[in-house]
């Protein structure tokens, strides 16, 4: 098992490095984005960024999570060959041990992203406060939610990657994504039972901090749902692995 974990570290060292470093770009963001407009001082740059570009910061965080998330799924790249699959199946740790290592490693990558983001946020708020003497909002709660969202996404895509290989698995993922978009567009057009109006209303009340207790509870349950799905995904992957190996390239 240790050997497999070592292999993961060795194989994905660039991904790990990127995961650790990318969140720190958020500290540089206000300086880079406002340097052209605000020439007076760094203080003005931070104040301007905090007051006008909070949504940009959130967008930046989401994009970094998506990019790094994509790398997490790709940790299977190179392992989706028939030779490797058969070797793993005949090794003492077996398919279960191999996939267990894979899932623990990806879980760790998600955790690393969350920790790196939180530390970067600490750095951002410390630098921001020292520069502006203004309270800088913390994004820790967002990072926790994003961590569990990442887990859920990985839980959904990994069995497909294992069953069909990365290439075909990615295609299936894209098709499913497109189907979701189509369903969403249809919902927007038809708007049955005022679903969209209700969703927009819920988002509005979330932004205003006026959240109903049921919504709060649903948000709190979400991480447990993600964890449960992740475990279920592992079990499904164990079942599908050998079927996938039969279809992998040499």
């Amino acid at each position: 098992m240790n050997g497999l974990l070592y292999k993961e570290f060795k194989q994905n060292r660039v991904g790990l490095l990127v995961t650790m470093l990318v969140p720190f770009l958020v500290v540089l963001l206000p300086i880079v984005l406002t340097l052209g407009d605000v020439e007076e001082s760094l203080t003005a740059a931070f104040v301007s960024f905090e007051n006008n570009a909070a949504i940009l910061k959130l967008l930046f965080i989401l994009v970094t999570y998506l990019l790094v998330g994509d790398m997490q799924g790709k940790t299977l790249l190179g392992d989706d060959t028939k030779k490797w699959g058969i070797f793993v199946a005949s090794s003492p740790s077996g398919v279960q041990g191999y996939l267990y290592t894979k899932y623990v490693f990806i879980f760790g990558m998600c955790g690393l992203m969350c920790v790196a983001s939180t530390i970067a946020d600490f750095l951002y708020s410390t630098v921001g406060y020292q520069v502006t003497k203004q309270e800088i909002g913390s994004g820790s709660a967002v990072f926790v939610l994003l961590f569990y969202a990442q887990l859920l996404l990985r839980a959904l895509e990994l069995p497909f990657f294992i069953r069909f290989g990365i290439k075909r698995g990615s295609t299936i993922k894209i098709i499913m994504g497109l189907l979701l978009v189509i369903v969403f567009v249809l919902l927007v057009i038809v708007n049955p039972f005022d679903i969209i109006t209700n969703i927009v209303g819920a988002i509005d009340s979330l932004r205003g901090g006026d959240v109903s207790d049921t919504v709060t509870l649903l948000i709190a349950i979400f991480p447990f749902l993600a964890l449960g799905t992740y475990y279920l995904s592992y079990r499904i992957s164990c079942k599908w692995y050998m079927k996938g190996v039969e279809q992998y390239d040499q």
Binding site: V115, T118, I119, Q130, T216, L217, A220
Partner: protein, 295 residues
């Protein structure tokens, strides 16, 4: 057989480095920014987080200086067969939080569900508990620095030299005294109490002894540092506050004296003693097993 002299030397280097690497920055920060500003306000959160990594850094440096290598680093997760200990790590602070809640109501309040301090619906209360359960483990990176030093190194070196009880007591006192630069500025107990700051440091040491026992038990049972880091994080991030659900009829603005704090530490002391007995029992079992295999 262990080389006692070498282990003593390693322990000495570790402790000197730990105190130097944390006390010097803490004292500088206290002077430069003021305790409230750098530790409590969250304005300098990066300094607060990084400075708690002194014991971890000392562990790494001691291993490097004394050419010890990374044997028994306790950095493995060891999830297989140990998942229950991870759950215990999550639940333990909640458990003594609930016991504290009961004690407070018995002493200062009255049993009346309508007078619960925690207002709000059951949904919001349940959401609050679930949030603590999912956030605290992620905050374990904050407490990892301490655990990687105290439990993964100090305890391991101390136990062969001082025995299990000695490690719990002396290790706990060292851990408590290590907090002194913060305690003298009002950390945990404020500054307005008789015997300030010595009583605060003493009380912190008592708390650290009994908390340390549970953390040591978790570390020894799993051979991993993560359950201890999770429990510590749970402790620091609102785990015991779940016990507030059981506080009833206590005035919201009631000020707690340092003696009240000691009184509220009773559940931790009881649990600490129980886990010490468990640890000693395990040690005896191990001894018997060793003798049996030798024969």
């Amino acid at each position: 057989m262990i080389n006692k002299k070498l282990e003593q030397k390693r322990l000495g280097i570790f402790l000197s480095l730990t105190f130097a690497l944390t006390w010097i920055p803490w004292i500088i920060f206290n002077k430069a920014f003021g305790y409230e500003e750098w530790f409590e306000s969250g304005h300098l959160s990066i300094l607060t987080a990084l400075s708690s990594y002194g014991p971890a850094l000392a562990n790494i440096l001691t291993r490097w200086i004394t050419r010890e290598g990374w044997k028994d680093s306790m950095l493995h997760l060891r999830l297989k067969g140990n998942l229950k200990y991870y759950v215990i790590a999550l639940m333990m602070p909640i458990m003594y939080g609930l016991l504290i809640g009961i004690l407070i109501t018995c002493r200062y309040g009255e049993w009346d569900m309508s007078k619960m301090l925690m207002s709000g619906s059951w949904q919001s209360n349940l959401a609050w508990i679930l949030n603590i359960l999912v956030i605290a483990p992620l905050m374990a990176f904050n407490t990892f620095g301490e655990e990687f030093g105290w439990r993964a190194y100090m305890n391991q070196k101390m136990e062969p030299l001082l025995g299990t009880v000695g490690t719990c007591v002396i290790g706990g006192i060292i851990w408590g005294v290590w907090h002194a630069p913060l305690t003298v500025c009002g950390h945990n107990y404020g500054i307005d109490y008789p015997g300030f700051p010595y009583l605060g440091i003493l009380l912190m040491s008592v708390v650290c002894i009994f908390d340390g026992i549970i953390l040591m038990w978790l570390t020894k049972k799993t051979g991993s540092i993560y359950p201890a880091a999770i429990m510590h994080a749970m402790n620091n991030n609102g785990g015991p506050e779940i016990g507030n659900l059981l506080i009833m009829g206590v005035p919201e603005n009631m000020e707690m004296t340092i003696w009240d704090q000691l009184y509220m530490g009773i559940p931790q002391i009881i649990l600490g003693v129980i886990f010490l007995i468990l640890m000693l029992h395990d040690k005896n079992k191990e001894k018997v097993r060793k003798i049996e295999t030798e024969n």
